[in-house]
Amino acid sequence: MKTKAQIQMGESVGILFIFFILVMFSFVFYMNVMQSSAKSDSEENIQLKAIGIAQKASFLPELQCSEENIRQENCIDLLKLEASANLLSENNLYYYDIFEFSDIKVKRVFPFGNAHEWILYNHSSSNYSSKLSTFIPTSLYDPETKKYDFGVLSVEVYKR
């Protein structure tokens, strides 16, 4: 037969057990809330990164049109583009520090029938969890003919 002290002790242990269970539940709930908040932060970060990379790509001196060193915004020099396509692939490691895991392409969409795509930087990640694409309309300047075409600079940023 149990004594009064044993019963009291059992009660205390029970109370502690329930207390810890409640603490554990609260903790698990709190961690879930934190996890979802971290997820949304990380989503925001990848969006910021994508915009940053697109910005860097469109302001790259290796691509931008210029006359007497006066730069034209939203304009890509076609001869520079041809040269940069090789340069960026030869110096992939250097440009990785700027563009990280992303694909950067320039597509000529006008004049029709003269479509062409230049792959500027290709460092895609095979095991990515999400991908964010940014498209920047741009003019493509041909210094030989001094004519402008119309194209799209597409930047795809991978999140691992």
Partner: protein, 352 residues
């Protein structure tokens, strides 16, 4: 012999102690983990925000931005910066900054580096709590005033006549950088400017000395810079380096030390090399397009661009080797500029 009741009371107290200790340890653990997590999260969020700010600052040149920061220490190195335990690589960027920013604000300033075509945007970072003292003599007063005008007005900077260096007071800044446009007195005399800064840590008081500033108010395009550091109440030379155009001289003003300056300069020369390769290939294409008989053939001669490629490659590997090599780059960029003007004269496509 103790009674049963006494044993029960003692046992209860021991039980309460153990249970209390377990609960206490449990909560301390949770608080500690949460604190660490929160620190990493805050640092990560500052790094992300700073990254966006730096990207924005880099694409819009000639701008000064004042950025309010939470009270955190931001450490800068040549290839990365870090906030708390969170580092961020900056290998692709040319950034001159002190090794530590402690303030609640950060000043960012961006300038183009053109040789003669745009190579990169140089980003300068500092803190309004950092003190910059431009020291001049009668020959360099005009240059000092010009530099003072060109540096962002938000910077904590002052012009001091070399003869009045002894009156310089300590204003409780966590770092002081002297910019000597006059000869430096290394020894422990009032003329070296260190008399009232003796209490500051040696590594927090540094200087650069432009060895041949000339007498004009225009900074020459190339030159030699000596880095110095306080040691007690004297100046000690840390080494010599060079600048190419005023943008990199400003870089020396902002850079933490000689090693960081040289490392950032190597990155800038690497970028010059890559951009020049693009212009070389572009001019080669244009030359082929125009053909030998065309007047536009000769302005697109690539010899100087190829020289620039070689010189920049050497500097990107071995900077700083000698001033002659830096002068060679300067001469080459002047030639490319002339060549571009010739292309313009003949209504050809320009080189840059």
């Amino acid at each position: 012999m103790k009674k049963r009741g006494m044993i029960e009371v003692n046992f209860n107290w021991i039980f309460i102690l153990i249970a209390g200790a377990v609960i206490f340890v449990f909560f301390i653990n949770i608080v500690n983990k949460q604190r660490q997590f929160s620190e990493i999260k805050t640092s990560g969020s500052i790094v992300t925000n700073l990254e966006s700010i730096l990207t924005g600052a880099q694409v819009s040149t000639g701008t000064v931005n004042i950025i309010d920061l939470p009270k955190v220490d931001i450490g800068f190195e040549c290839d990365r910066y870090f906030i708390g335990p969170v580092p961020k690589q900056t290998r692709g960027n040319v950034i001159f900054a002190p090794n530590l920013l402690k303030g609640k604000q950060m000043i960012t300033w961006t300038l183009d580096w053109n040789l003669p075509y745009r190579v990169t945007n140089i980003l300068y970072i500092t803190d309004p709590e950092l003190r910059y003292i431009i020291v001049y003599d009668s020959n360099t007063e005009a240059l000092a005033k010009k530099l003072d005008d060109e540096l962002p007005k938000e910077m904590n900077k002052e012009l001091v006549d070399k003869t009045k260096l002894g009156n310089l007071g300590d204003k409780n800044n966590y770092q002081v950088r002297f910019i000597f446009l006059a000869g430096v007195t290394l020894d422990a005399t009032a003329a070296n400017g260190l008399t009232n800064l003796a209490k500051m840590r040696d590594e927090d008081v540094t200087a650069i000395n432009l060895t041949e500033p000339g007498t004009s108010n225009i900074l020459s395009n190339t030159g030699t810079i000596k880095f110095l550091q306080k040691q007690g109440n004297i100046w000690v030379e840390k080494g010599t380096t060079y600048y190419l155009k005023k943008e990199t001289f400003f870089g020396a003003i902002f850079a933490a030390d000689l090693e960081t300056y040289n490392c950032v300069m190597k990155k800038a020369f690497k970028k010059l090399n890559l951009v020049t390769k693009v212009y070389t290939q572009r001019s080669t294409e244009l030359r082929t397009y125009y053909g030998f008989t065309n007047t536009c053939f000769s302005p697109h001669d690539t010899a100087r661009l190829v020289n620039m490629e070689q010189y920049s490659q050497t500097q990107s590997d071995d900077f700083p080797n000698d001033l002659a090599a830096i002068n060679a780059i300067q001469t080459t960029y002047t030639s490319i500029k002339d060549q571009n003007q010739r292309a313009q004269l003949f209504s050809c496509a320009l080189i840059y």
